[in-house]
Each structure stands twice: as C-alpha cells, then as structure tokens.
C-alpha cells in the first residue's frame, strides 16, 4: 500500500459518481478527438503537401486563367524537373447537382511526372494516354458511383456548359493516405478542343516539380519574375501555401470547430472539478483524521490530486479507447467513402491521442488544484469537527 494506491482506492468510494464522471470525461474526449480528426482531415492536404512541388496561378485570383504557353516557359527554366497544368471543370452528373466531386482537366502525359504518389495500373494508364475522352477516377469515387473501367460517363458542365462524355479508362489509388481518391481527372485536350474560343489554350494553374525541395523557394521567385512584364502576371507559391489558400475559404468554420473543442475540454474540467470538490467536502473530517495522525498538508493535496489524476486519465483512456475503433473502423470509413473530397483520410492521428491524454491529465490537475489547496489548508481541529 502507498499513497497513490490509496488515492486510486478512494475513487471507489462513491462508485456511481466516479463512473458518471469517468463517462463524462470519456464522452468529452471522444467529442474532442472527433473534432480534432475533422480538423486534421481537413488540413491533411496542407500537412502532407509535397515540398518539391510549387503552384503557379493568376496573380489576381485563382479563378482567372493563365495562357497555356506559360507551361512551356516554366519548363524552360533551370531547376525545373517537370511541369503540368490543370483546369477546374466544375461539372456534375446530370440531375445530381448535390453530389459534388472534384473534376479536373489535366495533361495525362505530364500528370504522372508531377504526382508520382498516384498509382494507376500500367495498362489503364496507357489506355488513358491514348484516349482523348478518357478519364481516370479515384477508387473512392468509383466505389461511390459504382464505376468500372470501360464505363461511359456523362457530365454536365457549368463553367464549360454542355454535356461531356467520358470513358473511364482507369481507377487510381494513392501511396499516401492524404491524397484525395475521389477526383475525376480527364484529358485537357478534350476540354480545349471543345471549349469556346475565349477559353481555349487557357489553364487554371500550373504545378512544377523541382529535383530538390531546397530549390523551391528560389524557383518561386524566378517564375514570377519571368512573367512580371507579361500581360498576365503570376503568383507562385508552395503547394502547401496553395492548399492553405483553399482552406482559407473555410477557415472560419475551422476556427469555430477549434473553439468548440476547447469549450468541450472546459466542460470536462468543470465536471471533474465538481466531482473532486464534492469528494473533498465529504471527506473533510477524514482529512482531519489523516492530519491528526501525522500526515502533512502536502499529503492531503497529493490524495486529492492523485484521485483527480486517476479519474481524468482513466476517463481519457476510455474516451480514446472508444474513439479509436469508432472513428478508424466506423465513422472514418464512412467519411472517406462519402465525403472524400473534404476528408480524404479520416483517421485518429497519434498526435491527437497524445494531446487528448495529455490534456486529460493537465485538466484534471487544474480542476483539482483549488480543492486540493483548500483541503491542504484545513486546520486539523476544524476538520475534525466537521461531519460529512
């Protein structure tokens, strides 16, 4: 028997209350982890951005186009390993406007030089390279709509009006979990040939790959300098900055969710603090007895803090124990399959688990600090006089 053991045993004294408190902490931790996972998943594109890729767009706004010839100009610069281009197509399945998925025109020949983490079986890849109306789709998107290689799909354009027919030539997967597997990529030439005149030979953004990430910053400057005196100037940035700018549109929501997660933790702390304070009040006489037989104020504090620490950590562990399988095996799969554009990889991060457990411990100590202080300051004869 030791002091820590007694503190743990004390949690059994009012088992019902302890169970309720542990449940409260566990639910708070579950909610916290769920929110953290939403945030992590949303920002995964930023977190896992390639350091050897840079993005170039119109200097004014993302929705304005760049001339296609800029790609060749960039390719001609020293230190460029590869460059490819993309156009946001913004189409949807006819009659299914509410079922959003990203559809993007690109150059199949240079696409895989840029995105080597995207994997397509070689025969499907060769087929796509030959098929002007070909498209490759992410495995999650294919699963969502039941598409197979060889299927014909019609999309209804909004930026590029009309009905557009495509052949599903391949289904891609990714070597990195953070890569969105619900995008529809098709040949830019098909778009370019069929687009109205004002939209011909125009690209949305250019992605450039450098051999060495250390060269990226220098190249960013050189690309923008290259187009400084042209009609259309560019804004070049790291892939991370580009992804961050996309997130900027939902930054308010992300901030709100972060605040909610903080509020959840504060509620957890109050629940825990209330339980500990009630326990201290009920045991004032007992603390008086302990002080009488020679225990010091620091021992009384240790009992209170030890009990709070145990409840907080135990509740945190229960919360993590529920959250891990629930999110990784249940909610996560559902989110990835149904909202993959927003949540390409919806799994509990190890760092979030560590944060959750760390906060369980820290908040338990904070919640118990005042009751522990008050208990330690009790005068022994006053404490002995108090009943229950």
């Amino acid at each position: 028997m030791n002091l820590a053991g007694i503190a743990v045993k004390n949690t059994r004294r009012n088992l019902f209350r302890t169970v309720l408190t542990v449940t409260g902490v566990a639910v708070a931790m579950l909610a916290f982890l769920l929110l953290r996972t939403v945030l992590s998943s949303w920002t995964a594109g930023v977190e896992y951005s390639a350091k050897d890729r840079i993005a170039t767009r119109h200097k004014v706004t993302f929705v304005m186009w760049l001339p296609r010839r800029y790609v060749d100009d960039i390719r001609a610069l020293d230190g460029v390993k590869a460059a490819s281009w993309f156009n946001w197509f913004g189409a949807h399945l006819p009659g299914k406007e509410d079922q959003f998925f990203a559809n993007i025109a690109t150059d199949p020949k240079s696409f895989f030089d840029i995105y080597d983490e995207i994997v397509v079986p070689e025969d499907q890849k060769q087929h796509w390279l030959q098929d002007r109306r070909g498209a490759i789709v992410g495995s999650v998107l294919a699963h969502q709509f039941g598409w197979k290689v060889g299927d014909k799909v019609t999309l209804e354009g909004s930026i590029y009006p009309g009905l557009w027919e495509f052949n599903i030539d391949g289904i891609y997967t990714a070597t990195r979990k953070s890569v969105d597997q619900s995008t529809f990529f098709f040949d830019w030439n098909y778009l370019n040939e069929s687009a109205r005149d004002s939209a011909k030979e125009q690209v949305g953004w250019i992605i450039t790959k450098v051999p060495n990430p250390a060269q990226a910053a220098g190249l960013v400057k050189r690309i923008d300098q290259l187009f400084d005196n042209r009609d259309i100037q560019t804004l070049t940035m790291s892939e991370r900055a580009l992804n961050t700018s996309f997130l900027g549109m939902i930054s308010t929501m992300l901030t709100a969710m972060s605040m909610v997660s903080v509020v959840i933790l504060l509620i957890m702390m109050l629940i825990l603090g209330n339980t500990i304070a009630m326990g201290v009040r009920e045991r004032t006489h007992e603390y008086g007895v302990l002080r009488a037989i020679g225990f010091m104020p620091k021992h009384v504090s240790a009992f209170v803090l030890g009990e709070a620490t145990f409840i907080g950590l135990f509740g945190g562990c229960v919360g993590v124990g529920i959250a891990y399988p629930l999110i990784n095996q249940g909610v996560g799969r559902f989110m990835e399959e149904n909202f993959t554009g927003m949540f390409p990889y919806f799994r509990v991060a190890g760092s979030d688990v560590a944060i959750a457990l760390g906060l369980s411990l820290l908040l338990a100590l904070v919640a118990a600090a005042i009751p522990a202080y008050q208990a330690s300051k009790l005068h022994v004869t006053d404490a002995l006089r108090r009943v229950g």
């Binding site: 028997m1 007694i6 045993k9 037989i293 020679g294 225990f295 022994v380």
Partner: protein, 250 residues
C-alpha cells in the same frame, strides 16, 4: 477508583492527584506538563476563552479521564495535549519537549511519532482493509512495505482482530471497528494515546471490551492514556479522573 479532582490551577494539588493513582504505587515521572495554559477562540470579533490559566501534570503511564459538561473545554484540552492545536498562552511540555514552540509541521511530525488517536466514530478509511487502515500511520515512516504489514498485523493481534485483517470497515461491527482504530493508534508504538469519547458510539458490551483493551494497553504496554468521556462507567476504568468546567479544573 480514586477520583483525583483537583483545586483549579493548583500545581501542587495536581501533582498530589497524579500520585494518587489507583495502583497506589510510587510516584511516576511527569510526562505531560501544562503551565498557565490558556486557549481563546474567536467567533468573528468575539473572543471565547475556552481554557483559563490551566496548570496540570500527568504522570507517565497514567490512564486519565477528562470529564465535564459540553463546552467545558475537555476536547480543547485533549487537542492541546495531542499537539493538534496550539495554546494561546502558557506552555505544554511533553517528555520535556515544548509543544507550544513548535510549528504546525513540527507538531505533525511529533504527533506521528508520539501520539495515537482514538475517535468516537472510529474514522477508518472505508476503502481500506483493517490491516491497511492500521498500516496507514506507518506510511509516514521509512519502514519497508513488508515490515509495515508485519507491524500492522501485530497491532491487530494485540486487539484480537488478526483474523479480520482483510475485512473492510463495513464488514466489521462498531466494536471491531473501534478495535481496529486502537490498533492504528498503537502501531507506531506512541507514548501517549488520546481517546475522544472512544465508547460514545458503542453498546455497553462493546464499550466494556474497548475499555478493557485500553486498560490492557495502559497496564501491560505502559501507554499513557488521556480519555475524554461523558460515560461514568468509562471514567471508572481510568486511574485518574479530572473534571473541567468553564475552562478550569474543578
């Protein structure tokens, strides 16, 4: 039973009383000496003088009962002797150590080594077994775990409850719980045992067993016992009975 009530504040009378123990043996050395002890509490701005210039000597190995009406100051006196509280004026010396000069921390350490406590309501920790409750004061020592357990079992054997070592308080009768509390009080082998109404919550038969045990601790183990009680039958077991009223010995 020799009732050794004394003249208020008279050291000589107290000394005489101390020598008039029931055993009638030779005078024992003074263990506890109170000199002009006063204790005042404050209720807001109002001062309440609980003890007034009290002089008292208790011999080593005595079994003393403190009696008196509620509010007479007997529990306050017990708390001062046990080092739970400090005097407002005067001094308390126990084995030559002046408690009134000690800090709260020093008194706590002194208590853990010199005083065993027995309370009216036993005050055992409900989540601990009898053996663990008895072992509790030993956690403040540097004894290894095995030695602590051994001593706790020895103390339980003294009070006749060794076979109940693994029982929790709610599995014991009131009398048994008080015996566990007595085992907890003696496990550190203190010189003094203070008992505040130790039979107040017990039926007559259990109370008699507890009192027998206290007499045994006094006679066989030489413990000095100071007991506050309202029960004349309990006081009868003591070798000296002192009565307090309005903060003074009568």
């Amino acid at each position: 039973m020799s009732d050794a009530s004394t003249t208020p504040t008279s050291t000589a009378a107290n000394t005489a009383a101390n020598t008039a123990v029931k055993s009638g043996g030779a005078a024992a050395a003074t263990l506890i000496r109170l000199s002009q002890v006063g204790k005042t509490y404050y209720r807001g701005k109002e001062a309440v003088e609980v003890l007034k210039n009290l002089d008292l000597e208790m011999p080593d190995g005595a079994f003393e009962a403190l009696m008196g009406p509620s509010g007479s100051g007997k529990s306050t006196l017990l708390n001062l002797i046990a080092g739970l509280d400090n005097v407002t004026s005067g001094s308390i010396q126990i084995s030559g150590v002046d408690l009134s000069r000690m800090s709260e921390g020093e008194r706590a350490k002194w208590r853990s080594q010199n005083v065993g406590f027995i309370f009216q309501t036993y005050n055992l920790m409900p989540v601990l077994t009898a053996a663990e409750n008895v072992e509790l004061p030993l956690l403040l020592t540097s004894l290894p775990s095995a030695e602590r357990k051994k001593r706790a079992l020895t103390a339980l054997r003294v009070v006749g409850l060794e076979e109940r070592a693994s029982h929790r308080p709610d599995q014991l009768s009131g009398g048994q719980q008080q015996r566990v509390a007595i085992a907890r009080a003696i496990v550190t082998d203190p010189k003094i045992i203070v008992a505040d109404e130790p039979t107040g919550d017990l039926d007559r038969a259990s109370a008699d067993q507890i009192l027998e045990l206290l007499v045994k601790l006094n006679k066989e183990l030489g413990k000095t016992i100071v007991m506050v009680t309202h029960d004349p039958a309990a006081a009868e077991r003591a070798s000296i009975v002192r009565r307090l009223d309005k903060g003074q010995l009568t």
